[in-house]
């Protein structure tokens, strides 16, 4: 099911939290909604789920304007904070399916299927309020997926997980989403998560959509400095504007665009070495061959044409660049 946003304005008090003239979440795709904290990502999810009412404009689920009835039919929502009612995980999943009008025999099938896919079968009999962070997130996800809703909303699905659980779920989640959900919107402030999980991306900064489209297009062509900085580009001041170098886009040695790096420290990692220092005052690092002479106080580093973007002074606020 396609999700579209038209002329959406949402205010909290006098503050305009969201202002989105148009945005589309393509049917059957996973779209990562990315942006810094407070950019309005979770609020947009709440508007899609009809948990908030827009001050202007609309969200459409398919061809129908999103309201509580439409959300009940079409939306599954895994909140950032995995919340449960008292009782076992199975009881919680049964309750969710019962509220959606799924019959008893069908409920058991769906619970078994979602539990197996999310690896929570051993947790089904456990008290849902006593799960660890990782277990709770998986159970939260399984409950959402068991609804088989045309639209699945995941708000920071990997937050609060320890590193091994996060790695595992980062691997499993795209497979699960492809198997269970048709249209998925994942909110994250972590660009790596966004890149791993999504087909498309929408960058939301200060309540406005700065870029949206296929993942490679958005990541490879950030529209402004703030979007570039959020996606991990290194921003360097240059004559008449700024240069943005893609993450891991800086190489040791000459290339299309050369820079001088002032080396502070060289870390020997056995299989390779890393030189840490500053380029035009911005702290960064480049990989060095494992063998070779120790670098001097300065190094020549470079970025390819593909890895470097130029922005004029008016294409972003330098003060926000980090």
């Amino acid at each position: 099911m396609r999700v579209t946003v038209e002329g959406l304005v949402f205010r909290r008090g006098r503050r305009r939290v969201l202002d989105i003239p148009a945005l589309e979440f393509i049917d059957g795709q996973t779209t990562a909604l990315v942006g810094p904290n407070g950019s309005g990502k979770s609020t947009l999810l709440r508007l899609v789920a009809a948990l908030e009412r827009p001050d202007a404009g609309s969200v459409f689920l398919g061809d129908r304007r999103a309201g509580p009835a439409e959300a009940r039919e079409s939306v599954a929502f895994a909140f950032q904070q995995a919340v449960f009612l008292s009782g076992s995980v199975r009881k919680n999943m049964e309750m969710a399916l019962a509220l959606r009008g799924v019959r008893g025999s069908e409920r058991a099938t769906r619970i078994a299927e979602a539990a197996a896919a999310c690896g929570i079968e051993p947790l089904l009999h456990r008290d849902a309020l006593r799960l660890s962070g990782g277990e709770a997130q998986r159970a939260n996800l399984a409950r959402a997926l068991s609804l088989r809703a045309p639209v699945t909303l995941l708000d920071e699905p990997l937050s609060g997980l320890d590193a091994p659980s996060r790695r595992q779920l980062l691997h499993d989640l795209p497979l699960l989403l492809r198997r269970f959900a048709t249209t998925t919107i994942v909110v994250t402030h972590d660009r790596d998560e966004a890149l791993r999980l999504s087909d498309s991306m929408a960058v939301l900064i200060e309540g406005t959509v700065r870029a949206s489209g296929p993942r490679a297009d958005v990541y490879g062509n950030p529209p402004d400095i703030e979007s570039a900085a959020f996606m991990g580009y290194m921003i360097l001041p240059s004559e008449g504007g700024f240069l943005a170098i893609a993450p891991r886009g800086l190489r040791h040695g000459p290339g299309d665009h050369c820079f001088e790096m002032h080396v502070d420290e060289v870390i020997d990692l056995g299989v390779r070495r890393e030189a840490w220092g500053t380029v035009a005052g911005v702290r960064t690092s480049v990989g060095l061959p494992a063998e070779g002479p120790a670098p001097g106080r300065t190094l020549v580093v470079s970025a390819s044409n593909r890895a470097l973007k130029r922005f004029g002074k008016g294409e972003g606020r330098a003060a926000d660049v980090h």
Partner: protein
């Protein structure tokens, strides 16, 4: 210590002898305070839920009023009800003054802020995403109220216990609007005051012990329900 001991002996004697007057006063006490608490529960729990979950202008001020109401002395509540129900008052025509109904109204007003305030606090202590989750899943307002009240059961039972405790032990309001009429509006607390004023200390002590035992019995039942839920 003698008064306490004599009171205890008198209490046992009154209970064992099946004193008709005592039974009548004890049953009336349970009826008046129990009805007031049930009414406060019926209206205070949904109102507390609405106050906890609602977003409307003046909510904080309203919550402030409720919290203030939790500390209003029963005699003041009784005075207000008396002024409303007395023959020259705005509701004098109802002829409720010095009746059990007047006592129930006064006790209801005493326990309502406690039930409402503690319920609001208990519901607010739930994860804020829980009501949203239930809404997205399709639970209607009554279903949400029921499910969330079950989740906040520990706090809501504490609210009901606080409400009941406040009215079964109060004397000022019952005296003001009930009048302590023998065989009609006399309850244990007003009977204790009367016995004390007559110098019947052992009798007063006995009534006090029976009052405490009754309050303990009711609260024990509620506590068992509350703690059974906690163990689950």
């Amino acid at each position: 210590m003698d008064a306490l001991w004599e009171g205890l002996k008198e209490a046992v004697r009154l209970i064992v002898s099946g004193d008709a007057q005592l039974r009548e006063i004890a049953l009336r006490t349970i009826f008046v305070s129990g009805t007031a608490t049930l009414l406060a529960m019926g209206s205070g729990v949904p109102a507390g839920y609405a106050l906890a979950r609602g977003r409307f202008p003046g909510r904080t001020v309203l919550l402030g009023f409720v919290n203030t109401g939790m500390g209003v002395p029963p005699v003041v509540a009784g005075l207000i009800v008396w002024l409303m129900l007395v023959r020259s008052g705005p509701f004098g025509d109802l002829e409720l003054i010095y009746t059990k109904q007047a006592m129930i109204i006064a006790q209801y007003l005493i326990s309502l802020p406690l039930v409402l305030g503690f319920t609001a606090a208990a519901v607010q202590a739930l994860p804020p995403e829980l009501p949203d989750l239930l809404r997205v899943l399709g639970a209607g307002p009554l279903r949400r109220l029921w499910l969330l009240s079950r989740e906040a059961q520990l706090g809501i039972l504490a609210a009901i216990m606080a409400g009941f405790g406040s009215v079964i032990s109060e004397v000022g309001a019952s005296m003001a609007v009930g009048g302590n009429i023998s065989g009609d509006t006399r309850v244990l607390t007003t009977a204790i005051v009367l016995s004390t004023s007559r110098g019947e200390n052992a009798n007063a002590m006995a009534l006090g012990i029976i009052l405490l035992a009754m309050a303990f019995a009711v609260n024990l039942v509620l506590t068992v329900v509350q703690q059974r839920r906690r163990r689950r």
